[in-house]
């Protein structure tokens, strides 16, 4: 069923626009999580520098930040601005990252864990920013301190008033020291833990941005820091309430709520939003297909599937069946996303094997075993008519390719294009097909992570199991598409068929 999902369409259009400017490798929308990590690195390094000059006391903090900003503007000042703007940029990227996973429906089923751990990670980032603003100890800081205390005072169980610490003259140092401790060590450690948890069920996660993006965003931040350096408000004064504040809306957005709601209601709104976000993967829930199964009798312990699994669901262990190999693999069914990429990784999935019997591979998907794929392909090839027979090997998560079927073009669908053993393409060509059109999600993106990257590498001969050199490359075409790319895809498919037609004609001529 093809439900029109406006969010998804809008997102894919935006993605296509960025592909134009950045290409797929540097497309920021494909790299939002990584970009957030990159901004954290900038925040970390600039923070270390600021720490040298920062005076961690209520009385000295403001003056030290003024020194950083104005006297040593050429290094410390720029570091301060980088620290501020990279933190802000991180929030923008995290929100876009979250929006992307949501718009593309990548938050339910096996992804629930990444989604649910993402929400508290975002909250941690926000509170880290809040303590950061506290440390400047300017008019904005005392506003943050005052309103944070009201929020904390509204919690049951804590008796005594924290708010009282920020009016009158007897301001105490203890909250300031606590905030400094939290900002410099407590919160960053928690954040590292939260992010470790966030990507725990994924493998091959990169925690820096691709080079082009890293350079571009760093230059952007640097220019911004020079044009419009971060500055403080006036010094904190407990006998004043500053009317107009230049809030950082990325971090301090909760406080204005207190102008309209009580502290208790503000807590309800915040916690309600959090719980709602965290419950989204189950509204409604999505079932993940049955996990991959290992057939030890066909597994030689080469470990390729474990290396390729994007969800870290396959582990290598010592052989248990007495076979002469050193290792075998097992599947952690809980972690398995049922993408089938391991089937494409297994050298035993070669469809030329076990020709007239059941094809059994080392690791297989119970709901669509390799034997069934080969049978389907055989049947589909038999159905093809005409002289220029084309098989489209499709991935189920990009585009509904069946709409392009004709008498001479038929589709065989797979869970992911990474599920396709490269030898399947050769098998089709060897069994009467004139051209194989290989699809998959847009380059740079893969519904299951890494599927089309592995496919490219197998085709290029740089990752096992490879598409052999002698495969007839002129009869193979790779064309990728998202659900919005139907028109372009169809054009390419028709052009490919004409190309095959010409090729067939040329070969016939050569024969004669």
């Amino acid at each position: 069923m093809n439900i029109i999902n406006p969010l998804k369409y809008a997102y894919l259009a935006m993605e296509a626009w960025f592909n134009l400017a950045f290409g797929s490798e540097w497309n920021p929308l494909y790299n939002m999580g990584r970009l957030a990590f990159f901004f954290f690195w900038i925040v970390f390094i600039s923070g270390l520098y600021l720490f040298i000059f920062f005076d961690t006391s209520l009385t000295g903090a403001y003056a030290s930040v003024e020194y950083i900003t104005h006297e040593q503007w050429y290094i410390a000042g720029i570091m301060r601005s980088l620290h501020r703007y990279a933190s802000d940029a991180a929030v923008v990227t995290i929100i876009l990252h979250m929006f992307r996973e949501f718009a593309l429906g990548r938050y339910r089923g096996f992804r629930w864990f990444s989604w649910v751990t993402g929400v508290p990670a975002l909250w941690l980032v926000i509170t880290l920013g809040i303590t950061g603003y506290w440390l400047v100890w300017d008019e904005l800081a005392i506003y943050v301190a005052m309103l944070s205390s009201q929020l904390i005072d509204a919690l049951p169980l804590i008796s005594g008033s924290m708010s009282r610490n920020f009016v009158g003259e007897q301001l105490s140092d203890r909250f300031f020291s606590l905030m400094a401790f939290l900002h410099f060590s407590g919160q960053p450690l928690f954040l590292i833990f939260a992010l470790w948890l966030h990507v725990k069920r994924l493998s091959l996660v990169k925690v820096t941005a691709p080079r082009g993006l890293a350079i571009g965003s760093f230059i952007g931040l640097l220019v911004l820091s020079i044009i419009s350096p971060a500055v403080s408000h006036g010094p904190a004064d407990a006998s004043q309430v500053t009317a107009a504040l230049e809030l950082d809306w990325f971090y301090l957005n909760v406080y204005p709520l207190l102008g309209y709601f009580t502290a208790g209601q503000t807590w309800l709104i915040t916690l309600g939003t959090t719980l709602f976000l965290m419950a989204l993967p189950w509204l409604p829930a999505k079932k993940t297909g049955p996990a991959a199964v290992v057939h030890l009798e066909q597994c030689n312990g080469c470990e390729q599937c474990a290396e390729d699994c994007p969800y870290d669901a396959i582990t290598v262990q010592a052989r248990t069946d007495g076979a002469k190999f050193e290792h075998e693999v097992t599947v952690n069914a809980d972690m398995c996303a049922a993408c089938g990429i391991c089937v494409g990784s297994c050298p035993a999935s070669n469809p030329f094997r076990q020709k007239n019997e059941q094809l059994v591979t080392g690791i297989d998907m119970p709901q669509m075993p390799i034997n069934e794929i080969r049978n389907t392909l055989d049947k589909t090839i038999a159905d093809l008519k005409g002289n220029n027979k084309i098989i489209v090997l499709g991935c189920d998560n990009s585009l509904d390719y069946s709409q392009f079927e004709t008498d001479s073009i038929k589709v065989v669908g797979l869970f992911c294009i990474g599920m396709m053993p490269a030898t399947l393409v050769e098998y089709a060509l060897a069994n009467g097909v004139d051209g194989v059109f290989v699809t998959g999600c847009r380059t740079g993106d893969c519904y299951f992570r890494y599927g089309n990257i592995w496919m490219d590498k197998r085709f290029a001969g740089t990752r096992q199991p490879v598409l052999r050199r002698r495969a007839k490359r002129s009869r193979i075409k790779v064309s990728r598409a998202a659900i919005t790319d139907g028109t372009r895809f169809q054009k390419e498919l028709i052009a490919f068929q004409s190309h095959i037609e010409k090729l067939n004609g040329d070969e016939e001529l050569a024969h004669e």
Partner: protein, 167 residues
């Protein structure tokens, strides 16, 4: 696509992104007060009077208690609620009955209220009652005040030094 055009488009996108970062990093300006407003903060902690006096137990009552619990005096820990009203120029600004904190209502009260008012001159009047057995205010305070825009006036209370004072 043409390389120059591509890098141009990239630069444009970076600029757009940085513009968003820059703008929301300080804007729109948030006004927690109008320019001609000030804040009165009423904040203090106070142990109100016990709500019941100590009482000597009768002989019979004592005999009913286990041996180790036979204290001659019964002193309930519960404290009185605190009632107060605050007037500016004889118009009531806030009033409340605050219950003592604690499971046994024995920890006194903790008050924190912020009120936004127009800057200017006022006569401030406030009274409170901290003893449930007394039928009239136990503390009163009157004072002419001048509030400048953005000023925060703290009204504090300390029973040991005679009651209310402002800062």
């Amino acid at each position: 696509m043409n390389k120059v055009l591509r890098y141009g488009l990239q630069a444009f996108n970076y600029a757009l992104f940085m513009a968003v970062v820059w703008y929301f990093s300080t804007s729109p300006t948030y006004h927690q007060l109008e320019d001609d407003q000030a804040v009165i903060t009423l904040s203090f902690t106070h142990a109100t009077k016990l709500s019941e006096e100590c009482r000597r137990l009768t002989q019979e009552e004592l005999l009913k208690l286990p041996l180790n619990m036979r204290a001659p005096m019964d002193c309930p820990r519960e404290r009185s609620p605190l009632t107060f009203e605050l007037y500016l120029d004889d118009k009531i600004l806030t009033s409340s009955v605050v219950e003592p904190l604690g499971f046994h209502r024995d920890q006194g009260v903790n008050l924190f209220q912020r009120m936004v008012v127009k800057a200017g001159e006022y006569s401030l009047r406030i009274w409170l009652n901290d003893d449930i057995n007394v039928d009239k205010p136990t503390y009163q305070y009157e004072q002419k005040i001048t509030l400048k825009p953005e000023q925060q006036l703290l009204i504090d209370f300390d029973a040991a030094t005679g009651g209310f004072f402002t800062k």
